[in-house]
């Protein structure tokens, strides 16, 4: 006998695929209800303006229009949104909380901010009605550039504040000044890292239906966090939490921005549905997505690294500005991630980091896949590249000398992470990951043979090798309920929403292994508050870590119930029993096996007496909250070829070795890495949100904002290493953002290497062929001038 089949760790095909492939999966915009009305929003054309009035009288008269609302029509319902993520308790921290409002009242603070809402019999009519409206505004000078925003006399995004400072945070460890005074070399650079749109292919959407007989509100929402949305909506609408059901069905990509509390639209659509007594739908169009869905944007770092003669890092000092956009409902998650992730996989004893978050007249900034970690990785990796060059060290060697060693874990960095917990790395084994990446990409052969040979032939090829860590799997907690039904099939309900990660399969694998059932017999439900209403959501690469651990705990509790009942039924001690193939039986006596469905029926009798304290059914609910996040790590190695005439860059090889602890499903982990790298390459070379001096976004369409296509993204070669996390029973760490985080740093190093000798320094991401062309020209001019 080979024992029961195990699924965890296997390349299990996804349970959810058939529905998605056949067009039968439900997405929010697919919801069709009798009598449903449709919404369009009037949005500000100006980035910064005083609003004197919005004339909606003509729109209200248009046939087919049911209602038009402006800020003044909202009454007490008009109020600024909650602060979704309060800042960590860092001593001396300054944070000015200015959250978004449902409809702009006296002032607009970014282009695309909603001013009025039309509800009509069709979306076509609702959009017609937008043309009927006129807005009386007094344009104000826009706050766009981060440094200009802080200059004396700059226009103010929020006039009740003395400046455009949204936050000021200092975190230190050790004594950087002392470290610097004893340094062999000190290297400083100004580094810029701008980020783009999340650009999930599905835009946001909200549908709401008020049932007056049941007194229940049902909301279908493309959110990554249905439970907090339910609880928040209930509070604002004066309903019991149990009267509100929020369903996040299949969601067409999240990547961060689909978690907000609240987007104006997701507040106003349910409110209108209750007020009008009819179902109401709003679906964002792509142009709205560019203005109204949160983005992640730039930071400017003035960074300095102090080194010993042998390349050991003595300390790092960093001062940076962070673009918060017009409001800051997401607190300081993004810049604190940057601040913390800069330390990377390295042993840095002295660190002095200070940032200022700045309000600007641009769309709100919240996490996008990576959530500020990119910025930190870019800064430390670039500093190490320049340090290696100055000290005459190989770029790999300088990294190797500074990696944390296995005996240094758990490693306390002595500063606070975004989740308010100390930045402590739980486990890691970094050097073997570096070695494996070098082996796969064949680093030595490339730099000693291939690169010189190709260079001699006039070709410009370069390699980039960078290391990173990713803080994942943060708390507070998630939960799950596991039920064995009389059919023998198993249901798993959990609160996290799902946006393509494969939760329907990974959670099923975990539960199937504990209960000894076929993975396809495990039916997972996520993102429906009627099914499960405790939890926080899908963010920070935490689904598998936190919700996965809760599924495991609930399954273990159900297994105990099965063993208790079966022990009684089969008159055998529990330790002699075995769960396999959907049955429980005495080990070595296959004829004794009883199906789990039969046990479930017996656990729910219709007549007779049960022992006191007995719970009916084979069901258990469990929760898991890690004491802090688990830290994944890895190495990216990229080989590129640059055409200096056109500044086009071709990525010819891309290797990712990563360690996200125990791998639950290599097929899905590879998929996460592939997509992350594509996103990272987009960020590095194709995607940039271009704002002009008036705060107008100049490229708000897929024709002008370039997502990488199948011809732009190279095949990614992956390898998994598994250093288990001690912080959860599965030993897992998150992997959702690992592909995207170091791609910019790897790209910059490789392109610079390809053009070595030209004097080119890449101190900014994103590049584009245009920008790279300019930089090559500048470097050439500089070289000629010398």
């Amino acid at each position: 006998m080979t024992g029961p089949r195990r699924y965890v760790g296997e390349r299990v095909r996804r349970n959810e695929d058939a529905r998605l492939l056949t067009g039968r999966a439900l997405f929010v915009d697919d919801v069709r209800l009798e009598g449903m009305l449709h919404v369009a929003f009037l949005r500000s054309q100006h980035a910064h303006a005083r609003v004197k009035g919005v004339d909606v009288a003509a729109a209200r008269r248009r046939p087919g229009v049911v209602a038009v609302y402006t800020a003044g029509d909202l009454g007490d319902f008009w109020r600024p949104g909650p602060l979704l993520v309060p800042p960590p308790p860092i001593p001396g921290l300054l944070f000015n909380s200015c959250t978004q409002v449902p409809l702009a009242k006296d002032k607009v603070r970014h282009a695309g901010e909603p001013l009025a809402m039309v509800v009509a019999e069709s979306r076509y009519v609702a959009e017609d009605a937008l043309e009927d409206m006129t807005v009386d505004v007094e344009p104000l000078p826009a706050v766009v550039d981060l440094e200009a925003a802080l200059a004396p006399g700059a226009p103010l995004v929020h006039e009740h504040l003395p400046s455009n400072v949204a936050a000021h945070v200092v975190q230190r460890k050790g004594d950087y000044e002392r470290a610097r005074s004893g340094a062999h070399a000190v290297i400083t650079r100004r580094l810029r890292y701008d980020r783009g749109a999340a650009a999930a292919i599905e835009n946001r959407a909200v549908v709401a239906q008020w049932d007056p007989r049941a007194e229940e509100l049902t909301v279908w929402d493309t959110t990554q966090a249905p439970i907090p949305i339910r609880n928040g909506l209930a509070g604002l609408l004066g309903l019991l939490e149990s009267q509100v059901r929020v369903v996040a069905p299949f969601v067409g990509g999240g990547f961060g921005p689909k978690i907000m509390m609240f987007y104006p639209e997701e507040l106003l659509v349910p409110w209108a549905a209750m007020r009008l007594g009819r179902p109401v739908k709003w679906s964002e169009d792509r142009q709205e997505n560019f203005y109204a869905t949160t983005q992640e944007r730039g930071q400017i770092h003035d960074a300095e690294i102090a080194l010993a003669r042998d390349g050991r890092i003595l300390g790092v000092r960093d001062r940076f500005l962070h673009d918060a956009g017009a409001y800051d409902p997401y607190g300081l998650t993004v810049p604190i991630n940057s601040q913390c992730t800069l330390l990377g996989p390295y042993d840095i004893a002295n660190y002095d980091s200070e940032f200022t978050a700045v309000f600007t007249n641009k769309t709100i900034v919240t996490p996008v896949r990576g959530a500020g970690r990119q910025h930190g990785v870019f800064v430390i990796e670039r500093l190490l590249d320049y340090a290696a060059r100055q000290l005459g060290l190989d770029r790999v060697e300088i990294r190797r000398r500074n990696l944390l060693r296995p005996e240094q874990f758990p490693h306390n960095h002595e500063i606070l992470f975004q989740d308010s917990a100390p930045l402590v790395y739980d486990s890691g084994n970094y050097e073997p990951a570096l070695d494996e990446a070098l082996r796969i990409v064949d680093y030595e052969r490339f730099v000693r043979e291939e690169q010189p040979r190709l260079r001699a032939a006039g070709r410009h090829v370069g390699i980039g090798v960078v290391c990173y860590v990713e803080g994942t799997g943060i708390g507070p907690y998630e939960g799950a309920r596991v039920t064995v039904e009389p059919s023998g099939r198993v249901r798993v309900a959990t609160g996290v929403g799902t946006q393509g990660q494969g939760h329907f399969t990974v959670f099923a694998q975990i539960v199937a292994d504990v209960l000894g059932v076929d993975v396809e017999q495990v039916h997972v439900i996520t993102g429906d508050t009627r099914e499960f209403h405790w939890g926080t959501g899908t963010f920070a690469s935490r689904g598998a870590v936190v919700a996965g651990s809760a599924c495991h705990a609930a399954a273990v509790a159900v297994r105990e119930k099965i063993l208790d009942l079966a022990s009684h039924l089969l008159e055998a001690p529990k330790h002699d029993l075995e769960l396999a193939d959907g049955s429980v039986g005495v080990r070595g006596a296959p004829d004794s096996a009883v199906g789990l469905g039969e046990i479930a029926r017996r656990a729910n009798p219709l007549r007779g007496a049960v022992r006191p304290g007995t719970e009916p059914g084979l069901e258990a609910t469990a929760y898991f909250g890690p004491e802090r996040g688990s830290t994944a790590n890895g190495v990216h190695a990229a080989i590129v070829e640059v055409d200096p005439e056109t500044a086009l860059v071709e990525v010819t090889r891309y290797v990712v070795v990563h360690d996200s602890g125990r791998v639950l499903n290599p097929l899905l982990v590879d998929g996460q890495i592939h997509g992350g790298v594509a996103h990272g390459i987009g960020n590095a070379f194709y995607e940039q949100l271009v704002y002009d001096e008036n705060g107008q976004l100049l490229n708000a369409s897929f024709m002008d904002y370039l997502l990488p296509t199948a011809t732009d993204v190279p095949p990614v070669e992956t390898a998994h290493r598994e250093t288990p996390s001690p912080l959860n029973p599965l030993g897992v760490k998150g992997v959702g953002e690992a592909g995207a985080i170091p791609a910019g740093a790897a790209f910059a190093q490789a392109v610079e290497d390809a053009l070595a000798g030209s004097g080119l320094e890449i101190t900014e991401i994103p590049l584009s062929p245009n920008r790279l062309f300019e930089l090559i020209a500048e470097a050439g001019a500089g070289a000629r001038g010398r």
């Binding site: 492939l21 292919i201 969601v251 990660q501 997502l707």
Partner: protein
């Protein structure tokens, strides 16, 4: 022409004839999704770039967000629902099966458009190379997969199913 004018349209979708009257400005994508309830066809940009709304018009891939419903009068449309008529519980099209096998989808939102792009491509290119496959996919945006496993799925489907080449 007044926007609320209604015009007749007579078309075949997945083998079923439909007679409707629609506003001339109604997009084919909206007609399929909201009039016929065929919500497998997704809308990602409404300006013809992302490819999520791709359907077959008389066997050729078109962007349903760039066509009006009335333009399909007398024509035959195939949507993703037409590839596997028995739904999620029934038999998958060989290309759909290969997508599952190769993990060629994550959120699945772009997937129907990708499938409807590939069906005529594989009919016309029975044994495509990697470059050809990537060129064929370059009009469909996917944010989740990095395209790698989509390419793998196409190769798998070609290896396994000579019938795709008909």
């Amino acid at each position: 022409m007044p926007v609320n004018q209604q015009l007749p349209v007579d078309l075949t979708v997945n083998g079923v004839r439909h007679h409707r009257t629609v506003e001339p400005r109604l997009l084919l994508s909206d007609f399929l999704r909201h009039e016929l309830g065929l919500t497998g066809t997704h809308v990602g940009c409404e300006h013809g770039v992302c490819g999520a709304c791709t359907v077959l018009l008389d066997g050729e891939a078109v962007r349903s967000c760039l066509m009006f419903a009335i333009q399909t009068d007398g024509h035959e449309i195939t949507t993703v629902e037409g590839l596997a008529p028995d739904g999620a519980g029934g038999a998958l099209h060989p290309l759909q099966a290969a997508f599952r096998e190769a993990h060629a989808l994550q959120c699945g939102f772009c997937t129907p458009g990708v499938l409807m792009t590939l069906v005529p491509f594989l009919r016309d290119h029975p044994a495509p190379g990697e470059r050809e496959i990537r060129e064929a996919l370059s009009g469909n945006l996917c944010r989740c997969t990095g395209y790698q496993n989509i390419v793998a799925a196409v190769r798998l489907a070609c290896d396994r199913s000579p019938s795709l080449r008909r």
